[in-house]
Amino acid sequence: MTIAATAGRGLGRLYAALMNLPERPMRWAQGHLPDGRLGWLFVGPNLAIFAVFTFLPILIDFYYSGTGGTNLLPTERPWVGSENFASLTSCQDYLDPNSCVRDQFWYAIWNTAKFVVLQVTLMLVFSLATALVLNRKIIGRGFFRAAFFYPVLLSPVVVALIWKWVLQRDGVLNAAFVGAGLEPVEWLLGARSAFGWTVFVSIWAHMGFYTLILLAGLQAIPADIYEAAAMDAAPPSRVFRRITLPLLMPSVLVVLVLGLIRAVQIFDEVYVLTGGGPGSATTYLVEFIYNTGFSSQVRQYGLAAAASLLLAGVLLVLTLIQLRGMRPSKGDGRG
């Protein structure tokens, strides 16, 4: 017998032994619980974790947002009422973050707004184009689809380091610039170019996922509709506008809303790529929350919780839009 087979059988035995452990208590419960209550035992552990790590935190978030100070324990935090919200929303001119009490918060809001509009629009355009091309009769389609999808699986930290390496001063992009007779550029040290690169890198990293959704949508369009259009000798542009686009609309909506929800929460890649800089040019909302609550010397949990709730409000609106038009099966990326 081979080693692999032995190991496999050993693992199988171990698995069976472990799974047999709850047999006795579960059989006892089955005999003693009133009919139909057994389901709760199966759902219980999962539900308990949701309760402790998802539902309870929402309630605590509301309490925290009304307290001040830097103590972590809620019992030792002074109640300040709406002070956190008031300081976050106190501005002379909402368009000018410098006139706000919490200028960093408003920089983050406007940066995030700019980022979301630009990133979601461009990502939709490129993933739609890629899906349309991949839906053609193409040699090596599986390979190309995999190539476009591959970055989706990479850790955001890895994504950021890949591009940091490409974009650094002595990096390969600047080498190409010098080769073409241009001046090298400090890509991540200029406010405008750093912002542009955060948009580009996040599209690079996530585009494959949305391409896949759109491709599935395209392949769900019945072929006989296209055959009928071909019979009528309809020009391709007309077929696209009258058949493809309307029938693809549900998938486009999924992509739009999912893309929006995730873009609003952008953090990981940008945090490693630019650290929110230069200055606060690429500081987005979640980074503001992280900086306020965790990374600065003075840990302002109350302020961070208040900012979280404002973010939650935005996300709630987006999710409700999503639920209006769609199946309730669309995840948000964390499971």
Partner: protein, 350 residues
């Protein structure tokens, strides 16, 4: 060859490539270069020595200067190709360099020193992969520990995710009990609560439960996934109830029915969830960064992040570490590409 060319240019209905086909291939090839190029570039760079990394413009392949042993000289001498002057075309070894003049010797005739201006020569390079970058990770840094932390968290969390989610899915799909619908809706509702907005309270809960600086602080909050429950429930709904009834006739306990009958039949859905869970946990960043404060508890992404802050000059190690982090995901993807893409397309989750 002609057949290959015909196959390459065959398109739907026409038989010849029209311009849209050319444009499609151009788009796909450029896109693939943009998607995979940077990753390949990173992998190639990770094999360069520190000297090779600061070279500008960078070379494509990792290289080092050729050195030869010359009689009468204790250390191997670097080789140069002479481009101008009396010795143009010759390959000479450098003995020493003073200002803009170098003293060199011909390795074949090492007795006569030759003086060459430094601008008249170029380094003679050869392919050389600096595997030390990888070997040193284990010795110079606590790399093994970060790797272990990541492997531990990923595997334990995935096993618990499969177990707890499938138990919940079993009850939600095969039992009728008071409160089943509300429980299912409640679990789906957690999809709407992204982890970014409950960072602060979750940190408090982890601290109260003694889970900070502890791998379980990353594992417990992650193992109850709404996506997993939903995915498995939808799959288990398709399993025929007759099977369960037959087992009950044989006096099997409900727990036994769950793990002996329903679990083995749900393998395809469990496989999809397992792949997702491995990817989620392996790549997770923000929550581990909040809950794992001490260096010894860091996972690979956290270690990478802290190194890129500290070791700005030691790119060779940082690059090697990045490659090690992306290898497992790449291997899984290469092996299970079809399952992953189909799972995502059908479930709409990432």
């Amino acid at each position: 060859m002609a057949r290959l060319a015909r196959m390459m240019t065959a398109t739907r209905g026409h038989g010849r490539m029209d311009w849209t086909d050319w444009a499609s291939y151009l788009y796909l090839i450029l896109g693939t270069a943009l998607m995979l190029g940077p990753v390949l570039w990173l992998a190639l760079s990770s094999l360069k020595s520190p000297a090779g990394l600061i070279e500008f413009p960078p070379t494509l392949l990792p290289q080092e200067q050729v050195r030869v042993s010359v009689p009468n000289y204790p250390n191997p001498l670097p080789l140069y190709r002479i481009t101008k002057g009396d010795h143009a075309g010759q390959t000479l070894a450098e003995v020493r360099k003073i200002g803009l003049q170098a003293t060199m010797v011909d390795p074949a005739a090492p007795e006569t020193p030759i003086r060459v201006p430094v601008e008249d020569r170029t380094k003679l390079m050869q392919f050389h992969a600096a595997w030390d970058n990888y070997g040193d990770l284990l010795q110079k840094f606590d790399f093994g520990r970060y790797l272990w932390n990541s492997v531990f968290i990923t595997s334990v969390a995935t096993i618990l995710t499969l177990l707890l989610n499938s138990m919940a899915a079993f009850a939600l799909s095969k039992y009728k009990f008071a409160g089943r619908e509300p429980v299912f809706l409640l679990m789906l509702a957690t999809l709407m609560i992204p982890p970014t907005i409950i960072l602060v309270p979750n940190y408090l809960i982890a601290a109260v439960l003694g889970l900070t600086d502890n791998p379980w602080g990353v594992i417990w909050p992650a193992v109850a996934t709404p996506t997993g429950v939903f995915l498995l429930r939808q799959y288990m709904l398709t399993l025929p109830d007759d099977l369960l009834e037959a087992a009950r006739m044989d006096n099997a306990s409900e727990w036994r029915i769950y793990w002996r009958i329903v679990l083995p039949l749900s393998k395809p859905a469990l496989a999809v969830l397992a792949i997702f869970s491995v990817m989620w946990r392996w790549n997770e960043f923000l929550w581990p960064m909040v809950v794992l404060g001490r260096n010894e508890t860091f996972t690979l992404p956290l270690a990478l992040n802290s190194f890129q802050g500290e070791l700005t000059t030691q790119w060779n190690y940082l690059l090697a570490m990045t490659v090690v982090t992306l290898i497992p995901v790449t291997v899984i993807f290469a092996l299970l590409q079809r399952h992953i893409t189909q799972g995502i397309a059908s479930a709409g989750v990432k």
